[in-house]
């Protein structure tokens, strides 16, 4: 059992020394995640104390009562007092944890006041965000203002997904036929990572997302930009790309201000303003876009975007067009 202790010391040091990733939920931001984190801190401290006591007693018993010549085992069957006390202590500890837990559950289920409303629709394998107050539609990257609660309405489309931004809030499932809600608030500007947490098929691993928090004025600017329709391209290559797009991609994609109005796939009106694409899986750059359009299924298994067999020139044109959609 000594091994256990050594191991956990190692893991403990690992906790301190290993990189804290962009998606961890130990260093949190914003009031919702912090409320959960404060409960965790108490629970974890108690768990560590119980762990040390129980494993310590176990090691003590193993060393102290190990067989030695002449040793006789005491033949007792139990001790009612000890047993009652040892039943009551954990019951009391748990009761102590139960009270703040239930209070937090109740508090967090309240709808926050003055919130920004966003409807999230989860699809295999990307996220659609509709800013119902502003008439803005975007995908995978959710822009929010700092210091204001964001109230999400979660709508299921195909299978169950789960929306999660660990540094801001825990997860809530997105279920076909049900409407769920959750809320969070970012206090500091920045980029927050998240991803789908409920196994949803081939590219569950590739269904990622970002929340990008701006100071309120910057957020207003972003909204204003997003409300604009797309402008027609002036560059000839991009114009050729637009033509190809309108023949090939409009069954699924929409671009405001054009004939492309389908909603099964992400709205691309301001595609070039996003830093990632395809479920926040790839950085939004020329090389990645080419690879993606050339054969989507090769890089994202199970994606519903087919390979249209475009030539390299056609791909270049479409990429050029997409990059005008700022």
């Amino acid at each position: 059992m000594l091994g256990t202790l050594v191991l956990f010391v190692l893991i403990g040091t690992g906790c301190v020394t290993s990189d804290v990733g962009p998606q961890d939920y130990m260093t949190v931001e914003g009031p919702v995640a912090r409320r959960a984190d404060s409960l965790w801190n108490v629970t974890f401290a108690i768990a560590v104390i119980v762990f040390v006591i129980v494993q310590g007693l176990l090691v003590y018993a193993i060393v102290k009562f190990r067989h030695r010549p002449g040793r006789q085992a005491a033949q007792f069957h139990g001790n009612t007092k000890v047993e009652v006390v040892l039943t009551l202590i954990p019951a009391l500890i748990l009761a102590g944890l139960a009270i703040p837990t239930v209070k937090a559950i109740a508090d967090l289920s309240e709808k926050p006041e003055g919130a920004l409303n966003v409807t999230v629709t989860a699809k295999q394998f990307w996220w659609q965000y509709e800013y119902t107050d502003h008439g803005v539609m975007t995908a995978n990257e959710m822009h929010v203002p700092t210091g204001q609660p964001v109230f999400l309405t979660l709508e299921g489309a195909d299978v169950i997904h789960s929306f999660w931004i660990p540094k801001l809030t825990g997860t809530q499932d997105v279920i076909p036929g049900r409407t769920n809600h959750m809320h969070f608030q970012a206090d500091e500007p920045g980029e927050y990572y998240g991803q789908c947490k409920e196994y949803c098929g081939l590219s569950h691993a590739n269904m990622r997302l970002r929340v990008i928090a701006h100071p309120p004025a910057e957020f207003e600017r972003w909204v204003a930009e997003q409300q604009e329709e797309a402008e027609d391209p002036t560059d000839p290559l991009a114009q050729e790309g637009q033509e190809i797009f309108m023949q090939t991609c409009t069954n699924c994609h929409a671009i405001a201000g054009t004939d492309a109005k389908a909603t099964t796939a992400p709205d691309l009106t301001h595609f070039a303003s996003r830093s990632t694409f395809a479920g926040a899986m790839f950085d939004n750059n020329t090389e990645n876009l080419r690879t993606w359009i050339r054969d989507p299924l090769a890089v994202k298994p199970g994606s519903l975007m087919p390979d249209y067999g475009l030539s390299e020139d056609q791909i270049d044109a479409v990429v050029a067009y997409l990059q005008t959609l700022r």
Binding site: M1, T4, L7, I11, C15, S18, G21, P22, Q23, D24, R35, A36, L39, W40, T43, V50, F51, V54, Q55, L57, L58, F65, H67, A73, A74, Q75, F76, H77, G78, E83, L86, T87, A91, L94, L97, A98, T101, V102, A104, I105, A106, I160, S162, T169, G170, T171, Q172, I175, P176, R178, N180, Y193, K197, E198, Y199, C200, G201, L202, S203, A205
Partner: protein, 621 residues
């Protein structure tokens, strides 16, 4: 000559009567042989499930791994879970129960020996049926809890195999549960009152009631899934008025008791091992028994803690948070009682004891991480991350698998009549212990660092690289430990160190008879006068533990000629009846309905043959 020539009644099948050879195993109704069949089969599935785990860990060792593609990864993680739960830990429990239950309660067999054989064959066919999916277009790939509507929409036949394969496996468990419950209630030796039963028997009783009530729930859910998939019904289809959450409720109403179905036999095994090597009676026997029963009852009231992110509303969530916290109390009681058993004992540490103590130590870790799930606002962070993966491996591997290995080392001499080697055993244990912690300890950190479960790949820069690599190294360490175990089995068989009837100076009735036990178990059914009856026949219950001679009467007990010992006769009918089920399964999946009728006829043939063949073969009269 004239009497010997009396015409035999003609039968469709001649009844097998061989005592050795393949047919004797196919037709056996002896609980000890069925137990061994269960154990070997489950161990083979353990190796398969382990190989699946190694492939998964190889894929995750580095970011952007290219060992497996997404499709194969999803099949393998689904099959790993299904295998370890339904085809390893559950049947390993059945192996111990089969072999030991009659011996521990002083019986000559289980209540329904042929039904027992039926359970085994159905279980075997369910496993083969499920694994055949790998060769028939793809294994189940919807996760072991098969959430609808993903499970109803996945295109390969994998989830059909899931729905029907688990249905068949469930029949095996259900049949066995009735058998074991009747055995425990009706077949105890004179004087073996309920509160004198070994704790392993008590835990078996609780588990079999859980199986009896939980299996019908999953059966309903699986029928609905089968109908949704094969016949386009809409139980879980929200677009046509169904409800995906219905699946989750049904699945977890089964699934949480299932967790206790997996862990309570392990607790029973540990409760047998620790007193023997402490040379003390179990501390707080009654408390351990009642805690086990309490877990059995409370286990029905915590299922929605698997669903805290579903959106059940604050009231339901609070209620399930509370029930989840308080089920930790009876679990804690058991831990304290095992510690109390060690206290002031005379402890020895053969391999079996190391595994039992490893169980206690690891289970504490799994229990503590389990309590954190009840903190709902934070559970929505932990859920579906590697924190959960760490938790359930600490209870199922650190718990159940440690206990199973301990049980194998402890009862091996009773099973096979020879000892396992201690040197290799200790190597086995330490590799197992270190490998286990190296594999699943880092999962805690990965979880807290935001790594979701069931992802076949992850990018660089998430802070997950190091601990994934460590975990993969750990997994291969466990594999090495399993190899050491197999070497130990082979070496111990080759250079047999014969086991005496009671090599550990143990406490319960199975040790009062030779190793391995004779076919009829007990020459005379023992008369039980106390808990740990065998110990008290050896030792006066004084602190000085003076050895006393074996009680008078038992020494003369070799006199078996005065009564006929009724033993179950071999029969092939359970095998035939069980074979009908996978035939029906394949026919449903491929919509070859005449074949389904053929399968049903095979099963019926088996059952009719069974009904019309006498329970005891004629030549035994």
């Amino acid at each position: 000559m004239a009497t010997a020539a009396l015409p035999q009644r003609r039968r469709l099948f001649s009844r097998p009567s061989a005592k050795t050879g393949v047919v004797s195993w196919l037709a056996t109704a002896d609980h000890k042989r069925i137990g061994i069949l269960y154990g070997i089969t489950a161990f083979i599935f353990f190796i398969l499930g382990g190989l699946e785990a190694l492939a998964l860990r190889a894929q995750l060792a580095r970011p952007n791994g290219e060992v497996l593609d997404a499709d194969l990864y999803n099949q393998l993680f689904t099959m790993h879970g299904l295998t370890m739960i339904f085809f390893v830990i559950m049947p390993m429990g059945a192996a111990f129960v089969n072999f030991l239950l009659p011996l521990m309660i002083g019986a000559r067999d289980v209540a329904f020996p042929r039904l027992n054989a039926l359970s085994y064959w159905i279980f075997l066919f369910a496993g083969l049926f499920m694994y055949s999916s790998f060769f028939l277009g793809g294994a189940p790939d919807g996760g072991w809890f098969g959430y609808a509507p993903l499970s109803t929409s996945l295109p390969s036949h994998g989830m059909d195999f899931y729905a029907i394969g688990l249905q068949i496996a469930g029949i095996a468990s259900l049949v066995a549960s009735v058998n074991f419950i009747v055995t425990i209630i009706n077949m105890r030796a004179p004087g073996m009152t309920l509160m004198r039963m070994p704790v392993f028997v008590w835990m078996t009783l609780v588990v079999q009631f859980l199986v009896l009530f939980a299996m019908p729930v999953i059966a309903v859910a699986l029928f609905e899934l089968t109908f949704d998939r094969l016949f386009d019904t809409n139980f879980f289809n929200a677009a046509n008025g169904g409800d995906p959450v219905l699946w989750q409720h049904l699945f977890w109403v089964f699934g949480h008791p299932e967790v206790y179905i997996l862990i309570l036999p392990a607790m029973g095994i540990v409760s047998e091992i620790i007193p023997v090597y402490s040379r003390k009676p179990l501390f707080g026997y009654a408390a351990i028994v009642f805690a086990g029963a309490a877990i059995g009852f409370m286990g029905w009231g915590v299922w929605a803690h698997h669903m805290f992110a579903v959106g059940l509303g604050p009231v339901a969530v609070s209620a399930f948070a509370l029930s989840t916290m308080f089920i930790a109390v009876p679990t804690g009681v058991k831990i304290f009682n095992w510690m109390g058993t060690l206290w002031q004992g005379d402890l020895r540490f053969p391999t079996a004891m190391l595994f039992a103590l490893g169980f206690v130590s690891m289970f504490v870790i799994g229990g503590l991480s389990g309590v954190t799930h009840a903190i709902v606002p934070h559970d929505t962070q932990q859920t579906d991350t590697y924190w959960i993966v760490a938790h359930f491996h600490y209870v199922l591997f650190g718990g159940a698998m440690f206990a199973i290995l301990g049980g194998l080392y402890y009862w091996w001499p009773k099973f096979f009549g020879h000892m396992l080697r201690e040197g290799l055993g200790k190597l086995n244990f330490w590799l197992w212990f270190i490998g286990f912690n190296l594999t699943f300890g880092p999962h805690h950190l990965l979880g807290l660092n935001g790594m979701p479960r069931r992802i076949y790949t992850y990018p660089e820069g998430m802070g997950w690289d190091l601990w994934n690599l460590v975990s993969t190294v750990g997994a291969f360490t466990i594999a090495l430990s399993v190899v050491v175990f197999l070497v130990n089995v082979a070496v111990s068989r080759a250079r047999r160190e014969e086991a005496v009837g009671d090599p550990w100076d143990a406490r319960t009735l199975e040790w009062s008879i030779p190793s391995p036990p004779p076919e009829h178990n007990f020459d005379e059914i023992p008369i039980v006068t106390s808990r740990d009856d065998w110990w008290h026949r050896k030792y006066l219950s004084t602190p000085e533990r003076q050895p006393t001679p074996v009680v008078a009467g038992a020494a003369e007990g070799g006199d078996t000629g005065h009564g006929h010992i009724h033993l179950p006769s071999p029969s092939l009918m359970p095998l035939i009846a069980a074979f009908g089920l996978p035939v029906i399964g394949y026919a449903l999946i491929y919509k070859a309905f005449p074949v389904a009728i053929l399968g049903a006829l095979i099963a019926l043939l088996g059952f009719f043959g069974w009904v019309f063949e006498p329970a005891t073969a004629e030549d035994e009269h």
